[in-house]
């Protein structure tokens, strides 16, 4: 399940107060999360959690749940 922390990072980057997000949420459903902004969100997540993603890992992400799993795997969770 998407953590409060990850959701907060995404919402902050998108300048949103709140938006319902589940594991199945995909970027085009979230206001402001377009392809141009995607790279900024990924960088914000990397910066916040002090992790590094490889481009191929980013390409494989299908939804927010995948992003959460990727963060968790980098943090050894």
């Amino acid at each position: 399940m998407i953590s409060v922390e990850l959701k907060k990072v995404i919402l902050k980057e998108l300048n949103l107060d709140d938006f319902d997000m589940t594991d199945e949420t995909i970027a085009p459903q979230v206001p402001g999360w377009d392809s141009l902004n995607h790279v900024n969100i990924i960088l914000a997540v990397e910066h916040h959690f002090k992790v590094k993603f490889k481009s191929y890992e980013v390409l494989r992400l299908k939804n927010v749940g995948d992003l959460q799993k990727l963060v968790d795997s980098k943090l050894g969770k």
């Binding site: 377009d34 141009l36 902004n37 995607h38 790279v39 960088l43 490889k54 481009s55 191929y56």
Partner: protein
Amino acid sequence: MNDIYADKSKTLWERWQNNAKRNPDRDAIVHWVAGEEPFRWTYKNLTETAKKFSVRIAEAGVKPGDVCAIIIRHNSFFYPLYLGISRAAALPAVLAFPNPRLHPDKFRQGLEGMAQRSGLDYILTEKELEPMIRPLVEKPGSTIKAVFFPLEWDVTSEIDPKKDAEIEQISKSVKETEPMLLQHSSGTTGLQKPVVLSHRAILNHVTNLGEAFKLTENDKVATWLPLYHDFGLIACFHIPLSCGITTVQIDPFQWVLAPILLLEVISKEKATVTCLPNFAYNVLAEKIDDEELEGISLESLRLTVNAAEPIRHDSHEKFAERFKKYGLNPLALSGMYGMAEVTLGLTLTEPGKPISELQVDRNELSHGVMKPADKNSIVRVCVSSGKPIGGCEARIVDEHRKDVPDGLVGEVAVKSVSMFDGYRNYPEKTAEVVENGWYYSGDYGFKWKDEFYIIGRKKDIIIVAGKNIYPEDIEDVVNQVQDVDAGRVIAFGEEDPNMGTEQISVVAETKLTTEEDKKRIRLDILKAGMSIDMNIHKVYLVPPRWLIKSSSGKPSRKANKERLTEGTDPQVWSR
């Protein structure tokens, strides 16, 4: 003379075939997908498969002169399909595949607008879009004759030689002055202008822009540009294919998620030329981690062409600085200016030479005069777009279409041997912009020492990451948002220095006053933008009657943008 321009074919198909005869085993197109082995079309395979598609297309009922809209994602069969349509003497028109956020009704509305305006006869697409497109085709009065799914067609088995010969005959009867393709500008409310280009216009352009790029047999193009955009289609597809060299095509959707892909391709394939809109220089320079760049070499790259949106000095600086240690020659950077109405390019800075830049007084420039900056000036760096390429002429004119002296700002007027044949089925629009063989671009700039500097637009088009967006499209949907005062909305572009492009801002009048209500209406405005696949970056909310009207009685985009971005009016809420 360089061999790649010696061919005197009258049509594109003839030219592609000649290239296949000359260099059958040379790579024509390398179809790149991240993490997979690239698919390589040799000139021979590409044209042979195109022949099969042309037979299938003719069997499906497509006639010479019919317009075939192609709506297909990054797929290796796109290329022979495109060539096959041209061989069957029909006109390919490449359209963008809809983003999931685009509302199906809006997608259909846009397609319907295009069909009525340009007379799209057939839609060639993927099965996935059938539920979205089929109702449009079956709608009473639809001008679209049928929808096909060419990726499902069998193009592996042999074709009937008789049918093949018939199509070859049709292809040979096509004259160089006949239309070859149709290009659409972006937009969703019928504002799109379909540009028709003849074989001659494109072939002239291949020679003129190819020579300006100094292309030789040794060049190889690497690109992620979408092929529905003229920059991608002409510069990175038609030019290399006509010149008989290789183009490596990266999926635009993958590139934007993983910008490193372009650098990997350049490095692995030893590509020499790439084309990028300005924002891509920022993305590449600033959004890739050092670790990912390990092993990347850009030594082969001799030309990067910046076009499709204003060229920004800072973006070039960042790019050159970041990639110096990866072998990038800073003199590889060049700038181009052009438009679909002249096929693509009009002016280009000289490859291998530094780009001219002028430090000018921003205030004077806003009054139409290029004055070198002094110590009291607020400086604007103007980046040159170079000199007209072969076969093109350009002038700067005033509002009466009379020439203005060098250093004065005016509209760019253009004449080219690759001029379009007008907007299809839109003679009144063509007549507005073409006079005595000159096309009046609606772009503003000045000429200085024979070079052209583009500084803005007469029209209010917003350019986000190389994509032209009509503010009317955004205003239309935002006007329908609850609690927005209808007709009291404007959209405009605001510079985003971080991304090196413009972003969309919206200002709307509303009677709502509480913070909570304003946050809610902002979210509704963002969602309205999403429904037409437009990302609204900033929302300004103002009380009723705040917006300044223009002489036409409508809110003025320019005046209100200035008031918002300069002022500190406490009545303005923004986020």
